[in-house]
Symmetry: C2
Subunit: 406 residues, 2 copies
């Protein structure tokens, strides 16, 4: 879509009521000929509808235009490393139906995983009586790096078998509509952006601490993907330790403070008898997961609390450097590890304030993300809607949705 | 200046020859009424001139418009911690006259320093027969953080006495024109940007390694200043050592690898007899400077070379983290320390490639900045010209200058 069509559509979409071409001329400063040309194009592509005639100002009553939010549905998929959530949303990003599956693990490889997700999609469509030709776009978040422009997952050991897999191509075989694939830190950040409408905060770092650690960057109100679409890869920042990371390097942040590393360290502490509670958990289950550590923190197990505090300090120290460099006004922390509660966030804060200059933290807020388990699919829906409509990859999150109900 | 006026002026300024209003309508898609209104405003403010009448297309010959590059001069000042460079430039950022002074040290405090610079400015104006009312803007780079929007230097121990000093106010007392003050890493980066016209590289990190270490960020083709105008403050990223930094923290990057730290470590090595050459230099001068270390490196003194290599590894390790986070396609290294030659750049490269993921460095270029001693004043001139004309703080470095001769 051209810059002019985009600008005109944004005015129509954000308008609280149907709008005349004369108003569009006034609000955009484009000539009437330009407005005519581009609104015709928008009407042809079904994005804008002629809804009614407005009051006459002398001549015949002008036709009023409105964004056509009923133009169809988008499929929204949030794939995590050990589960997936699938939804169908309208063009205001409201999820009309969704389903979660714990029966999915990325290590099964792309074919098996995508087939399972496809089955869920078709089940949801049938349940809600949605036909294939009503699906206008697909948005999907995956737990690893993606070449956004081509929809191909790239190499990281966390997703064996997914190297150079054409995820977009898979979906295009089944649906006659555009498909957009991004890493699920970005989709999570997009969801937070549209729901919190952070227009006062154009520069934000979102940090997702799950099994891995990743960041999403909002710069001047837009999602920033970087030069090779890899921006935000903070999990592999070297923090100078000896632990081997699955990426092949030693010293990576997530090899010390990611969820997987936390579970392994908790097992070591259980075995060495430092924590009675963790030891009991390990004895009864044979292994510990992040979820077990979370339970131990909630039960105020001193060893588990100290483990989380240490991880917070380590993560905060890396974030302090990024705050000095990028000088955001908001840092959001989310993901499974952050679910352990305030001990992690408190130590992250402590570390950031200790190791950033006061000039960089003068008006910095550090807080938990606000969304629950639906964040990933809301973000994936937003990705699909924005790209299907505008197709410019800009993800201008200032363009608020008129009728989002979330 | 409004967005429309800006857009119209940019088309006029980038046009290789005078342009008609009809062409402006065609190229911007604005209505003739809008083009008329905004070009009149540009003519009134002397930014655009009616230069001639073009060929008739039936009716009377159209008036042609051109950017008025002769509308005056800007003052460009590059203040470093121990010297300053002052120039006067035209509106194509060509320096018409300049002078360097080693008689200036920021530690003298703002009044003394600015008075000395003012004396140079008046001398240059007299030499080149430039009247006060021909000065239309002032751009200045300083060796520390600045609140860009207010032109006030902020607190850092490197500039004692400069805390909350109203630098802009000082100049406005003497010249009836706008004044813009930025840190001199940004002005250096702006100069590199306009001269290298990096339109293929929208995302760049410029690193200046002098007595301190700072960075400048180009994001989507624009200078990025951050939420509290402090972005790029990488000299105080914690790298986990015990050295006290003048900022009050321990472990800062520049306390280990900045020019001041390098000189101190070279003195220690001289005293302990590790390097005969450094010892001779220290004995004859009583102290060592960065310039002495540079000489020792050029003479292949093994200890000095190893010292620079170590610093390169340390700086590169921090940059590796920033590359993972920001994923630029270019990293430029400049400043006095980088002047020691290839040993530093080579070790910075080694460290970045070792500690960044291949995904983030797939098409990364790491190189020396290309400009010599005039970089700072060229950047300051660009700052003054862009802000005087557009006044939007965006520093859109894609807007190339039509007649820059540098």
């Amino acid at each position: 879509m051209s810059a002019i069509t985009t600008a005109i559509l944004k005015v129509i979409r954000q308008s609280q009521k149907p709008i005349s071409k004369a108003d569009l001329v006034r609000m955009t400063n484009y000539s009437l000929a330009t407005v005519n040309e581009h609104t015709e194009c928008l009407i042809r592509s079904n994005l804008v509808a002629e809804v009614e005639r407005g009051p006459s100002t002398g001549g015949r009553k002008p036709i009023l235009l409105s964004f056509n939010a009923e133009l169809g549905y988008v499929i929204a998929i949030d794939l995590e490393s050990t589960h997936a959530r699938v939804g169908i949303a309208d063009f205001n990003c409201n999820i009309v139906i969704s389903e979660s599956s714990r029966d999915i693990d990325v290590s099964l490889g792309p074919s098996a995983v995508l087939e399972k997700i496809k089955a869920i999609v078709f089940r949801l469509m049938e349940k809600h009586d949605i036909k294939r030709n009503q699906i206008k776009g697909i948005g999907m978040g995956v737990p690893g790096p993606v070449r956004y422009n081509s929809g191909i997952t790239t190499s990281l050991a966390i997703m064996p078998g997914w190297e150079n897999y054409q995820v977009r191509q898979f979906w295009i075989q089944h649906f006659d509509c555009p498909c957009f694939v991004d890493n699920n830190v970005n989709t999570m950040a997009l969801a937070e952006q549209i729901i919190n409408v952070n227009t006062d905060h154009p520069n934000i770092i979102y940090v997702k601490i799950g099994n891995g650690i990743g960041a999403s960057i909002i710069c001047n109100g837009q999602l920033y993907r970087g030069s090779t679409e890899y921006a935000g890869g903070i999990g592999h920042i070297n923090i100078g330790h000896d632990q081997l990371c699955y990426c092949g390097n030693r010293g990576c942040l997530e090899a010390k403070a990611g969820g997987r590393a936390i579970a392994i360290r908790a097992e070591q502490m259980a075995r060495s008898g430092q924590s009675e509670l963790l030891k009991r958990m390990l004895d009864s289950k044979g292994k510990l997961t992040l979820s077990d550590v979370r339970k131990a923190v909630i039960e105020s197990d001193a060893v588990a609390v100290e483990l989380m505090r240490e991880c917070g300090i380590i993560i905060g120290d890396v974030l302090a450097g990024l705050v000095n460099f990028f000088n955001p006004s908001l840092v959001y922390v989310g993901g499974a590890v952050s679910g352990v509660g305030d001990v992690l966030l408190a130590s992250i804060r402590q570390s950031i304030y200790q190791h950033s200059l006061p000039l960089a933290t003068r008006s910095l807020t550090i807080q938990h993300m606000s969304l629950g388990e639906n964040a990933g699919i809301i973000g994936a829906a937003f990705l699909a809607v924005e790209e299907t409509i505008f197709g410019n990859g800009l993800m201008d999150t200032k363009a608020s949705l008129r009728s989002y109900n979330g």
